[in-house]
């Protein structure tokens, strides 16, 4: 009796989950692919090779790679600081690092405009530097602006992944190594790094995914299609053009990002699986 009713509950719950899963997660993926190729392969490949798309892909890659490098560097340094040393204000610092995670990306874009934009307080400073170096770098409505906005929204991604790992590991091993006279770099490379390897990779994957797909923050500081647009902005432009052709093109470009998302997911699962196996050893 009991067994049977338990089974009923089990399959009802599984049923609900599967329906939710298919409707919310699987269907959208197929919807993108279906709409992308709705007008045939020629339109599809034309959309992907359009100048604007290629330019957007370039900008996206530049922003992603730079954000990944900067945030990985920051994440490792900050995690080392927070987990290997005791100091006053540590909790405040940890909270501050996580800020970008919990605020609207639109505000991130806004923040850069208000710092480096035409009437931003730092603009005269940037102008001076440009004058001095004979350059013409602008930090908003430009590729550097897009890069900065991308860095902002993905800022805590790496540190969030490695801080818990390093906390759990403690600092005995590092102390023992420094006791024997090893340098900071040696300690990191030989002792700390093996512990955070998988977590770091996982954080980098999440960071890549978010950097690739960031929209709100980038949208605020990028206005020139074909020059400073990223793929999501290009998709927005195509979609908002409103004709059925351009909407199909929007989905064609989207399919690129869907492919990227699937790769990220597969990669993430492999990394998780490996990390888990390592842990069980």
């Amino acid at each position: 009796m009991k067994k049977k009713s338990e089974n009923v509950v089990k399959w009802i719950l599984i049923g609900i989950s599967v329906v939710f899963f298919l409707l919310m997660l699987v269907w959208p993926l197929f919807e993108v692919i279906f709409r992308a190729v709705a007008d045939g392969w020629e339109t599809y490949s034309a959309a992907l090779t359009a100048d604007n798309t290629v330019s957007a892909l370039q900008v996206t890659l530049i922003a992603t790679v730079i954000a990944l490098v900067v945030n990985t560097f920051f994440g490792v340094v900050a995690a080392w600081l927070v987990t290997k040393f005791d100091f006053r204000g540590k909790n405040v610092l940890s909270t501050l690092i996580d800020i970008p995670f919990s605020i609207s990306p639109v505000i991130a874009g806004l923040a850069y405009i208000m710092t480096f934009g035409r009437s931003g307080w730092a603009t005269p400073l940037i102008d001076k530097i440009n004058e001095l170096l004979g350059t013409d770098i602008s930090l908003v409505f430009s590729v550097p602006g897009v890069v900065l906005a991308t860095i902002f929204v993905t800022f805590p991604f790496i540190s969030r992944e490695i801080i818990p790992i390093l906390h759990a590991q403690g600092k005995d091993e590092e102390e023992a190594a420094s006791m024997m006279g090893a340098s900071g770099f040696t300690i990191f490379r030989k002792i700390t790094f093996p512990h955070i390897k998988w977590g770091l990779l996982y954080g980098m994957i999440l960071c890549t995914a978010r950097a690739f797909g960031e929209f709100g923050a980038v949208y605020a500081v990028s206005k020139a299609r074909g020059k400073t647009f990223t793929l999501p902005l290009e998709i927005d432009a195509l979609y908002m053009a409103g004709s059925s052709d351009s909407i199909t093109q929007a989905f064609a470009v989207s399919s690129l990002l869907v492919g990227m998302a699937v790769i990220v997911l597969v990669f993430k699962n492999i990394v998780e699986y490996k990390a888990k196996k390592k842990e069980e050893e």
């Binding site: 023992a176 006791m179 002792i191």
Partner: protein
């Protein structure tokens, strides 16, 4: 003195880990820093190593003040409480680490590591990772790693805390013998008095950041200088008033005393051996008999207080409720300033321990 602490103080916020601590250890000795948890003993060890910095006072090694010398240059080997073995390195790499950091010659490293591996009896396990070893084996690796660069001084933080009770005893003997073989001056922290008594040449007793006493195990046991030491070392019972006991009439009522099982002798009234002492005995009734493995622990009600004594299993059997003759021949009397031995006045000239 080979290693010396002079007037060391250290505070963590409101918590005083060391209050004006001074002591010294001779070369080649093995010393134990003994105290209850939270007494400050680990902090003292860490200050010696340079892992913590004292607020004031000097750490002196081989006649040199090393206050400003970083931990890595003090020539100290350190065995951490949980060993802090590098989990992603093999046994071999763990032991070789300190030598590699010092950029030693590769062949020399190999030679030294293999020598150590056989010294600690881990031959054939050099390719294992720490999580593939037992607790005892890990301790051996930690020990080998610490002495690999030939340090002048070896510090060990609770070296047996992470080991099963069963293996612990065996490891104690092993560690003592091996350290003697290597001939290195060493200091270890422990909260376990048996461990300190068994392994150390000198015991330094720490309580609430104070140094209570330093001396050989026998000295500390026989002549505790403070009430804390008297109570901390050995099993003991504290009594408020001993003036009702024969031979202790002179002691003031309210004078606190410590009685150890070894200070109490209980025997049957017809025991020939104690015939000459009958004028000093009290009458006691057995309240409880506990079997302690190799002896019995008797609790006796004497003059309204409970005393315990150990009884060899070779002696005649006793039962709860049985009347016994109880002889109290020594106590520690103590007050705020210290503890001193009081002998039973009626036993003048008779050495009970020799009976």
């Amino acid at each position: 003195m080979y290693v010396e602490l002079k007037n060391i103080t250290k505070k963590f916020g409101d918590y005083e880990a060391a209050k004006n601590i001074s002591f010294g250890i001779e070369q080649g000795r093995m010393a134990a820093l003994l105290g209850p948890s939270g007494s400050g003993k680990t902090t003292i060890l860490r200050m010696l190593a340079g892992l913590e910095t004292q607020d004031s006072g000097d750490v002196i090694i081989e006649g040199k003040v090393v206050n400003d010398i970083p931990a890595s240059e003090r020539g100290i080997g350190f065995v951490f409480q949980n060993y802090a073995l590098f989990r992603y390195m093999t046994v071999y790499d763990n032991i070789a680490f300190g030598l590699k950091v010092q950029k030693e010659d590769k062949n020399k490293i190999r030679e030294r590591v293999m020598e150590l591996i056989s010294l600690v009896g881990l031959d054939g396990l050099e390719k294992r990772y720490p999580n593939q070893l037992s607790g005892g084996q890990r301790q051996r690796v930690a020990f080998a790693r610490a002495i690999a660069p030939n340090p002048q001084l070896l510090l060990l933080d609770e070296p047996f805390a992470a080991i099963d009770a069963k293996v612990r005893k065996e490891l104690r003997t092993w560690l003592k013998e091996t350290i003697q073989k290597v001939g290195i001056t060493s200091i270890f922290v422990t909260h376990d008095q048996d461990e300190a008594v068994e392994v150390a040449d000198d015991i330094i007793i720490i309580n609430q950041g104070n140094l209570e006493q330093i001396g050989s195990p026998v000295e500390i046991y026989k002549r505790p200088k403070t009430p804390f030491v008297a109570q901390f070392i050995g099993t003991s019972i504290v009594l408020d008033d001993l003036s009702g006991f024969k031979g202790f009439e002179e002691m003031e009522p309210g004078q606190k005393v410590i009685v150890r099982p070894e200070f109490v002798e209980a025997f049957k009234a017809d025991n020939e051996k104690f015939k000459g002492l009958m004028h000093a005995v009290e009458e006691g009734v057995i309240e409880k008999i506990e079997f302690r493995g190799s002896y019995l622990e008797l609790t006796l009600k004497v003059n309204g207080v409970s005393l315990t004594t150990n009884r060899s299993l070779e002696r005649r059997s006793v039962a709860v409720g049985e009347k016994m003759c109880v002889l109290l021949y020594r106590v520690y009397a103590f007050d705020q300033s210290g503890a001193e031995t009081h002998k039973n006045k009626l036993l003048k000239g008779i050495d009970v321990e020799k009976l």
